[in-house]
C-alpha cells in the first residue's frame, strides 16, 4: 500500500504527467464521441487515420516550438517565427516556380538551401539585436514579426505563388515507411536539438543564463554567444516548418503562412513545463504540448463545433490545461482534502537522513 502510494506520488510528481494526462483525456473524449477516432488503416502502403493526421499536422508546430523552447529557456521570446515561416516558404516556392523543371531534386535542394540561408541570417539579426545591442527580446523580435510579413510579400510580389514540384510537395505530404515524411522530419529535428543541447553542455549553459544571467556571467559564461545561438536555432527550425507549411498546399502565401504560429509555439512550450521566466527547459514536454494543441484543433473540426465558437472552445481548454499544471492551483484543491491525516510518506523515510 505504502509502496503503491509512493509510486503514485512519483508518477504524479513527474513533470510530464499532467501534459500527458491532458493529451490522454482529449484522445479519450474524442474516441467516446466518435468511436472510429483512433482507427488507423493501411491503404496503398500508407497509414491513414486521424491519429496519423494529428502527428503530420503537428510537425511544423513541433519544429517551431523546439526552437522556441531554447529561446524561452534563456529568458527570451521569439515572436518572429511565424514571419520566418512565411519568408522561408516564399523564397523556396519563388525559386522553384522560376525554374523550368520544378520536379528536379537539385532545384528543390537549391531552393531549400537558399531559404534556409536567408532564415539563418534573419535569425542572426534577431540574435544581434538581443545579445549584442541588448534590446528586450519581445521588442527585438517584434521588428521581424512585422517587417517579415512585408518581406515575404515582397518576395512573392504580393501574389500567392503556386508550384508544381513533386519533391517539394513530399516535405509536407510524402510518405516513408508507411508514415508521413513530416513526422520523421520533426522527429529528426527533435533528436538533433536534443543531442545538440544535451550531448554538449549547451543545454545546461542555456538554463544557467536563463536561470540567473548575472551569476552566469560571473561564472565566466559568455552569455551573448549563447543567446545569439538560440535565436539562430529558432530561425532554422522556423524555416523548416515554413517548408512544410507551404509544401502541404504547394503554394506560398506571404500573408497566411505561419500566421499566429508563434503563439501556438509559446503555448506548447509553456504546456510542456518550461517557464516563461527562463531556466530549465523540457523538449519532450514541448512536443507533448504541440501535440495537445494540434489534437485540440482537430477535435474542434471533428466535433463539428461551429467556427464561431471554436476559438472560444480552444481558449477554455487551454485555460484548463494551464490551471491543472499550476502547482498553486492544484495545492488549493489538495488542501481542501487534507483533513484526512496524510499517509506516512516520504517524510518518514530514513533514506535521505543527513549525516550528523
Amino acid at each position: 500500500m505504502n509502496d503503491t502510494m509512493s509510486r503514485y506520488r512519483t508518477m504524479i510528481g513527474h513533470r510530464l504527467f499532467w501534459p500527458a494526462a491532458v493529451l490522454f483525456v482529449m484522445l479519450a473524449a474524442n474516441t467516446i464521441y466518435r468511436p472510429g477516432f483512433l482507427s488507423i488503416e493501411l491503404k496503398d502502403g500508407h497509414l491513414y487515420g486521424t491519429p496519423i493526421d494529428i502527428l503530420r499536422l503537428s510537425a511544423p508546430l513541433i519544429l517551431v516550438a523546439l526552437g522556441m523552447t531554447l529561446v524561452i529557456s534563456t529568458g527570451g521570446i521569439d515572436l518572429s517565427v511565424g514571419s520566418l515561416c512565411a519568408i522561408s516558404g516564399a523564397i523556396a516556392c519563388m525559386y522553384i516556380s522560376k525554374q523550368p523543371d520544378q520536379n528536379s531534386l537539385g532545384v528543390v535542394m537549391t531552393a531549400l538551401a537558399m531559404a534556409l540561408g536567408v532564415s539563418l541570417v534573419l535569425g542572426a539579426w534577431n540574435g544581434v539585436l538581443v545579445a549584442v545591442i541588448g534590446i528586450q527580446p519581445i521588442i527585438a523580435t517584434l521588428i521581424l514579426m512585422v517587417a517579415g510579413r512585408g518581406l515575404a510579400q515582397l518576395i512573392t510580389e504580393g501574389q500567392i505563388i503556386t508550384i508544381n514540384s513533386e519533391p517539394y510537395r513530399a516535405i509536407g505530404l510524402g510518405h516513408a515507411l508507411t508514415l508521413p515524411l513530416a513526422i520523421f522530419i520533426a522527429l529528426a529535428a527533435a533528436l538533433l536539438v536534443a543531442a545538440f543541447t544535451r550531448r554538449t553542455a549547451l543545454g545546461m549553459i542555456i538554463e544557467s543564463v536563463g536561470g540567473n544571467a548575472m551569476a552566469s556571467r560571473l561564472a565566466g559564461i559568455r552569455s551573448g554567444r549563447v543567446i545569439f545561438l538560440v535565436y539562430v536555432i529558432s530561425a532554422a527550425c522556423a524555416a523548416v516548418a515554413g517548408f512544410m507549411m507551404t509544401a502541404n498546399v504547394s503554394s506560398a502565401d506571404g500573408n497566411a503562412a505561419g500566421l499566429w504560429v508563434e503563439l501556438d509555439a509559446i503555448l506548447a512550450v509553456v504546456i510542456g513545463g518550461t517557464s516563461l521566466a527562463g531556466g530549465r527547459f523540457f523538449l519532450s514536454g514541448t512536443i507533448i504540448g504541440a501535440l495537445i494543441i494540434q489534437t485540440l484543433t482537430t477535435t474542434v473540426y471533428a466535433m463539428d463545433i461551429s467556427p464561431q465558437t471554436s476559438l472560444l472552445f480552444k481558449a477554455v481548454v487551454v485555460i484548463a490545461v494551464c490551471l491543472i499544471q499550476a502547482p498553486a492551483f492544484r495545492a488549493r484543491f489538495s488542501r481542501r482534502r487534507r483533513n484526512v491525516p496524510p499517509p506516512a510518506t516520504i517524510a518518514d523515510k530514513p533514506k535521505e537522513q543527513v549525516p550528523a
Binding site: A201, N212, A215, L218, Q353, V354, P355, A356
Partner: protein
Amino acid sequence: MTDSRPVLTMTGISKSFPGVRALHDVNFRLFPGEVHALMGENGAGKSTLIKVLTGVYDTDQGAITLDGEPVSFTGPMQATAAGVSTVFQEVNLCTNLSVAENIFIGREPRLLGAVRWGEVRRRARALLARLDLDLDVSAPLGSYSLAIQQMVAIARAIDIKARVLILDEPTSSLDAGEVAQLFRIMRQLRDEGIAILFVTHFLDQVYEIADRITVLRNGGLVGEYLTTELPQLSLVEKMIGKELDVLEGIEEHSRRDLAALEEGTPLVAVSNFGRSGAVEPFSLTIHAGEVVGLAGLLGSGRTEVARLLFGADRTDGGQVAIDGTASSLRTPAQAIDHGVGFCSENRRAEGIVADLSVRENMILAMQAARGWLRPIPRRRQDELVDKYVKALNIRPADPEVPVRNLSGGNQQKVLLARWLITEPRLLILDEPTRGIDIGAKTEIQKLVTQLSDGGMAVLFISAELEEVLRLSHKVAVMRDRQMVAQLANDESLDADRIMQTIASGSHREEADR
C-alpha cells in the same frame, strides 16, 4: 517575564523537502516581552521553522497556537494580519519604489479607493522617527544602503500591530553602530510587550540582547535555555554537537614570513585600477601563496575592488600584469582564463543558479571555461562533485537536488566548490563566512590556509577583523572608497591598529615604513 503564558507555541513540527528532512519533531515557544534567539548551524532548520510558522511552508506534522488558539497561516500576509510579522533574511522590498511606498505597500490608507499619498508619507515619517531614522520617504529605497533597507523592513513589520516580530538574521549586513541602533529598537519593542524571535550567527549579539535561547541541530530540537544559564562555550558545543577545538591550528599558521613570499614575480600586479563612482584608483600586488586581506566597513569599496580584479566591472584605466606580462582583465571570462575565481558576497543574485542542481552549479565555471562544445564527461563531473561534497561537508550530500533546497551556508560551500574545481591561481572571496555558522566558518578558514599553503593566492574580504588578521599575510584597508593602507601582518598589527586606520585613514606613511 517568563511566568506568563506563551504568546506562541509550536509543537511537534516536522517538515521535509524532496531529499531533505528539514525539521523533525521540533517544539518552540515564545513569551510576550522577551527576545528569544533561535540558534543553530546552517541547515539546522532555523529558516525553515520560521517559514513554517509564517505559513510560507505547510507543515507535514505538528501544531501552532497563537494566544492559545490553534492557527495555520496560509502565508506571511495572513500571519502578519494575525500579529506575527517577519523580516526575512534576504531583504524582500522593492528597491524601485519609494521608502514610504515600501512601508505601506499592500495596505495603503485609502479614501474612496484612492491612495492617500500625503497620509502615507506622513505616517512613514512618523514611523521612521520612532526608529530614529531620518530619511527622505519619497526617495527610492534603492538609493539607501542595505542596512537602511533592513531598518525600513523592520519599520514595515512593526507598523502592523505586531505581537510577534520575527527577525531572521537582521544584523548580517549591519555595521556596529547600526546594530546598536537596531538593538535599542528591539529593547524598546520588547518593553512594549512584543515577543521577538531573533536569528543570528553572531554569538556576542545573542548574549547582548537575548533572554532565552532555543538551539536546533540537523532539523531537531536540542533544547531551550535561559541565556544567563548557558555559557557561550556550551552554546557553541550544543550547536555543532561536538567539542570546540577546530579553531586551533589556524592561529599558528598566520603571520608567516611575508618577505619570502614576496620574492619573485607577483602573480597579479595592478596599478591605478579604479572606476569612477565606485572606487578610487589603487595599486595592489598579489603573489602566489599569499593571502591578502581586504578590511573596511560596509560600503567602503571592498567589493568594488574585487569586481575590478575579476573583470566584473571594467576599470577606467591603469595596467595589470599577470606573471609579469602586461595583460587585461576586462570580462569575468577573461579573468577566469587567467586563473582568477570570484565568490560574490551576494550569493542569491550573483552566485547560485537556483534552478540548477548542486552538481551543475559546481561544474558551471569549469564548463564555461571549456566552452559548451566540450562537455565535461559525466564520470569526471561526478568525481569532482563527490570530492568537494565530502571535502566541504555539503549537506545534504545529494548532488542532484536543486541548489535552492540547500541552506545558505551550504549554498556558499557549493559556490566555493565551483571555483575550487577550476583550480584557480587567485581566488577572490567576498565575505565567504558572512551569515554562516561557526562550524562552516572555521571549515572555510581552514580551507583558505590550506589553499594558500598549496600555492594559491587568495584575496580575502571580510568585515570581521579577527578573521582577516588570522588568515592574511597582508591587509589592505579600505576607507571611503579608497585603499588607504597596505599593512604587513606582523607582530605589530592587531585589530585596533586596523580599526584606527579605517577610522582615520591616515596611516599610509606608517604602512610604507
